[in-house]
Symmetry: C2
Amino acid sequence: MSRPESHDFGAWRDRVLQRIGREHQRPTPQRMLVAETLFHHGHLNVDELHQEVRRIDPSLGYATVYRTLKLLERCGLVHASNFGDGTARYEIDEGGHDHHDHMICTECSKIVEFEEPAIEALQVDVARKHGFALTSHRMDLFGLCPECQASANA
Amino acid sequence: MSRPESHDFGAWRDRVLQRIGREHQRPTPQRMLVAETLFHHGHLNVDELHQEVRRIDPSLGYATVYRTLKLLERCGLVHASNFGDGTARYEIDEGGHDHHDHMICTECSKIVEFEEPAIEALQVDVARKHGFALTSHRMDLFGLCPECQASANA
DNA sequence: CTAGGTGCAAACAATTTGCTGCTCA
DNA sequence: TGAGCAGCAAATTGTTTGCACCTAG
């Protein structure tokens, strides 16, 4: 369980059930398993998610993971990111404006989420300066995490 | 020619020749054509670059474009970016610290480059706050360019 | 000569899709 | 009973690589 306490599993489950129903689709055991597994382990790519899910349902296929993620994405329940390793990594969207950006350790691939309102404000300014109507953004910071800096100095 | 006057084609050519030589590789006509074409049209993906290059040398193969880009990348002459369309897009690295970020129109795919030192400074702050030693970053802003906003309102 | 290059086609890896049988409302 | 699903395998797409021939010091 790599997810902070602040996230509410029950609420997430309810949202998934509700949104999937709204699309006239069914919350099958496979789909719920994929959604719940992603809730508990953020930033997984399809392969990792598939492996994780198989620990509970070994017959669950690769295509089902892909199709479920696309469905969840359509429902606004998850979104994909790219951190430069050539695979799409998914994380859940909870209600409200929970946007955050990422800091990635180039050594151990650890991913830290953060928010910085001051930067967001400046982004809007820059966009306006160029006449753009901003709808979204992506910001990734790459560097060495504290642990990897320590072992680099050893 | 979609590149501002401030960029010096001759200097670029010289840098390419020099760096390729330094790697004990040869500045073949194909390689120079790829490099020069990329200079004149930034943000091309391999397919677009290949098509562009073929207008001058129709026999130039796909693999050569890929291999040349990898060579140029190794030489620090170009770098790849990903703007979410599933293909790698390349742009040239000129000397000095010419880092910039991108603003992408989600309607017409226009790409505008910009620099914002205030944001860069804040990024360093945020990183430090989390104990990260920052080495690089990527920031893309998505929205509607002025032209597409106008046609949306029409 | 011979190291390095080129183009083609085959190989790869991530992702998508066609199909056939299944299941639950 | 039939619309939506699952799993498998085949198909696509972006990218890389093996190979046979070629070319410039």
